[in-house]
């Protein structure tokens, strides 16, 4: 059985020693993200995010479906985030580890439960036909901080996606072929983005965007999800050492500036996306 082996003692010790002097193993500053690359398209809703060596692919798709009986005027948003052995040796899609479950749950909370997608705008014929939008997140390479990379990929893909246009004529709904009529973007309420902090040592050493080694050594982590309106959409501090109230405040302030930068990068990426040839 392939088991992910943690870092050696000297790697862990070195990461801490360096951090105590304010430097990180990969040469970054403690408040720096790794290099972020967002590639959109050419197909609408296909986005690959590269955060350092971490890679996540997001794919948004849709199909016509029947609405749930208790919500006849709302579209359906389905979500799928599963870690496979592509991302790192030892990941097994059959038996997810607690870490994998945590990542998938956080992303789902960020994108789906924060109601970023306008579900009512996905209704075609009340009680009969609605759009079912699917977000598939494929983790391609795990080099730390999957959550932030996945949240950026998911929200960019939703903004980049276009669904076929529909005309409703009485009881009939005509779904237009993308070649006949230009597809339309989804109605997105807001763009929640995760910013993750790792805490090392006794919790006094904080880093933004922890690398794989930092994740393996950290004693606690904290993820804050914010949108461009400076609203908090989700918070997660699952276990680990207790943190000071002040540290959380500091994280929130930092996250606000980070989210602003990330939002700009997302908008830029969508603007410079390769156009679909079809």
């Amino acid at each position: 059985m392939v088991v992910e082996i943690g870092p050696s003692n000297i790697e862990s010790q070195f990461a801490l020693d360096a951090l105590r002097q304010g430097i990180r193993v990969d040469g970054r500053g403690i408040y720096d993200y790794r290099t972020l690359k967002i590639a959109c398209g050419p197909t609408p809703g296909l986005v690959e995010v590269q955060l350092g060596e971490t890679r996540v692919l997001a794919r948004v798709s849709c199909e016509v479906s029947r609405p749930f009986p208790d919500r006849p005027t709302e579209g359906i948003v389905q979500f799928n985030a599963e870690l496979s052995s592509m991302a790192a040796p030892g990941f097994d899609s059959g038996r997810p580890s607690t870490q994998e479950v945590a990542v998938a749950r956080m992303i789902e909370r960020t994108v789906k439960q924060s109601r970023a997608i306008d579900a009512e705008a996905l209704c075609i014929l009340a009680g009969d036909k609605v759009w079912a939008v699917r977000v598939d997140l494929h983790f391609l390479s795990h080099s730390g901080n999957l959550i932030d990379a996945a949240s950026i990929a998911a929200i960019t893909a939703l903004k980049h996606f276009k669904r076929p246009d529909v005309t409703v004529d009485g009881e009939e709904a005509i779904i237009h072929d993308p070649r006949d009529r230009n597809p339309v973007p989804l109605s997105i309420h807001h763009t929640p983005i995760c910013v993750t902090f790792g805490f090392l040592g006794d919790g006094e050493l904080m880093v933004v965007d922890p690398s794989l080694l930092e994740e393996q050594v950290q004693v606690s982590s904290f993820t804050i999800t914010l949108n461009a309106h400076r609203e908090i959409c989700a918070l997660s501090k699952a276990g680990g050492v207790p943190l000071d109230q002040e540290q959380i405040d500091r994280c929130t302030q930092l996250a606000l500036t980070k989210v602003e930068e990330l939002n700009e990068k997302i908008s830029e990426a969508i603007k410079s996306a390769v156009p679909d040839t079809n």
Binding site: L46, S61, S84, S93, L140, S141, S143, T277
Partner: protein, 226 residues
């Protein structure tokens, strides 16, 4: 008959291949034919589960994930097709009691995805340095209602097809196929025309693979020569 993307009947879409862009695996490749694109990450030889351990050779495992939705029996079928194609070509006996794991992820499926998956697997296995008897290339074509045959069909063309044909061939002198999946309703005359077309296409894909590998290797060897 005019193809929607104005290709000639025997023309394949433009090929792209990126090697070694994943950092956690031992070898990786992204192989694309037009919009159809498959990413493959290979580990091996690595430790194997006791359940799968073979005393005289490496166990070969294939995992195939679709671009949309969770894996279904359709994807198990592709896994089995890819595994059967490579099982006898990987020199598994050189690494007994180990595992060679092939992870495939469809980035986008616009037709001919089985063939593209096989091509991505070849490149990733070579990138990982897993010993292989040969380099494998695969290609697909379809027979349309008017009897015309078109190479490397898009999803749209495949849906209109009377029969679809996927072949894999090996680098080298041998004439025969490594993998055949012909389905629909067809005659042996049509099968043979599809065979010839895919054989030619595979030769071009093999030449493309060689170029892609050469440029990577030459870049590396230029460095070590200094």
């Amino acid at each position: 008959m005019q193809r929607p993307d104005r290709r000639e009947a025997n023309q394949i879409r433009s090929l792209h291949c990126m090697l070694g862009q994943l950092s956690r695996v031992d070898g990786s490749a992204q192989f694309s034919s037009g919009k159809t694109s498959v990413l493959c990450g290979v580990y091996g030889p690595i430790d194997v589960k006791v359940y799968d351990e073979k005393l005289d050779r490496a166990h070969i495992e294939v995992k195939f994930r679709p671009d949309i939705g969770v894996p279904t029996t359709k994807d198990k079928w592709v896994e089995s097709a890819v595994r059967s194609t490579f099982e006898k070509e990987v020199l598994a006996q050189l690494h007994p009691r180990t595992l060679v794991q092939i992870n495939l992820q469809v980035r986008e499926n616009d037709g001919s995805v089985d063939a593209t998956a096989i091509n991505a697997t070849t490149m990733a296995l070579v990138d990982a340095g897993v010993p292989m008897k040969t380099t494998v290339a695969a290609a697909a074509c379809v027979v349309l209602k008017d009897g015309s045959i078109v190479a490397d069909p898009t999803k749209e063309e495949a849906e209109l097809a009377v029969s679809t044909h996927t072949f894999a061939f090996a680098n080298g002198s041998s004439d025969g196929p490594l993998y055949v999946d012909s389905r629909g309703r067809f005659s042996m005359a049509e099968y043979n025309r599809c065979y010839d077309l895919c054989r030619l296409t595979c030769d071009r894909i093999l030449a493309f693979m060689r170029t892609a590998l050469e440029s990577k290797i030459q870049k590396e060897s230029a460095i070590s020569a200094v």
